[in-house]
């Protein structure tokens, strides 16, 4: 179930953040517990690898802690976390691509069965789910980011625009293009 965000929630988050900024680091755990699953699943919707999603979730929270003082009260803490996540996912995907291009070691050729079980394409029961994962992974980065936020996370165009720092019109047109591309692959 997704974390419901309302004004009370935002107020609560801000109070916790203020406490953390005053030096009560333990309070940060409340935010971690509240948002870790949401961020983990969001990352998973981009990279479809459970182990990597857990690592990146840790990176997201560490990065958010490091720059907590830059969080603006007028935006939802969850949206801010999504923004950080998007950047960390981009870095990971670029890193991963570079690694794949540069290094084809024996280790990477001998696939561990344990690692295989953590890749969603391998554990999804339905063929249709696997096909869907492949189709999303094949979307260009700009379309995939919008597609995950709008179609999977069910964010509004406005919130997606805030997270990606893009105008609503751009979000709308990218979502249209993403749907067109997915339709060609999936229907």
């Amino acid at each position: 179930m997704k974390t419901e965000i309302n004004s009370d929630n935002i107020k609560e988050d801000i109070e916790i953040i203020e406490e953390v900024l005053k030096g009560d680091v333990e309070k940060f755990e409340t935010l971690v517990l509240k948002y870790q699953t949401m961020i983990f699943r969001f990352v998973l919707k981009h990279i479809y690898d459970i182990d990597a999603a857990e690592e990146l979730t840790q990176e997201v929270f560490l990065a958010s802690f490091k720059c907590l003082n830059a969080y603006k009260k007028n935006s939802k803490f969850s949206s801010w976390l999504f923004g950080i996540s998007v950047n960390i996912i981009r870095n990971y995907i670029n890193r991963d691509l570079k690694k794949k291009r540069k290094c084809v070691s024996i280790d990477s050729l001998v696939k561990s069965p344990y690692a295989e079980n953590k890749i969603l394409e391998n554990i999804a029961d339905k063929y249709e789910c696997k096909k869907c994962i492949k189709a999303i992974k094949n979307l260009p980065e700009d379309l995939r980011e919008v597609c995950v936020l709008v179609a999977l996370e069910e964010k509004s165009y406005i919130e997606t625009g805030e997270i990606l720092k893009l105008p609503v019109g751009t979000i709308k047109s990218r979502m249209f293009r993403a749907r067109q591309k997915l339709k060609d692959t999936l229907s």
Binding site: I17, F40, A63, K66, K183
Partner: protein
């Protein structure tokens, strides 16, 4: 596909993500009843949308390892301990400062004057959200 069909198709996609006015919805319905090609396109888009929903339900059933909270908090405490005496300590703000910020109507928790010194130097700007810098 003519321009009218493309506009209606865009509107149809929009209707899957947000609430459209009655007028716009009527426009889509009218077009579907008259244009067989668009009707087929809409059906394909609906199939795609339902597959995305199915994928989302699958992912929403997966949870991280229970130890993730501990791992996150350990890395954060390490980070705090490393920076306790310098950068992070500098970014802590007093109650008075907070009151002053509120009084000034500034929404930011951190006073703008502190922005430069509170950002720990080791943070890679590329991993911070676009609105931060």
């Amino acid at each position: 596909m003519n321009n009218n069909c493309k506009n209606i198709l865009e509107l149809f996609c929009e209707s899957l993500d947000s609430i459209l006015s009655e007028d716009k919805l009527r426009l889509i319905e009218k077009h579907i009843s008259e244009c067989e090609n668009c009707k087929k396109e809409f059906e394909k888009i609906l199939i795609t949308a339902s597959k995305l929903k199915e994928l989302n339900n699958f992912i929403e059933s997966i949870s991280p390892e229970k130890t993730i909270t501990l791992k996150i908090m350990n890395s954060i405490k390490d980070e705090f301990a490393r920076n306790k005496s310098d950068s992070f300590k500098q970014c802590l703000i007093s109650d008075n400062e907070l009151d002053n910020i509120s009084a000034a109507g500034n929404n930011s928790i951190t006073p703008p004057s502190m922005q430069n010194r509170i950002t720990p130097p080791e943070i890679n700007p590329s991993i911070t959200p676009p609105n931060v810098f």
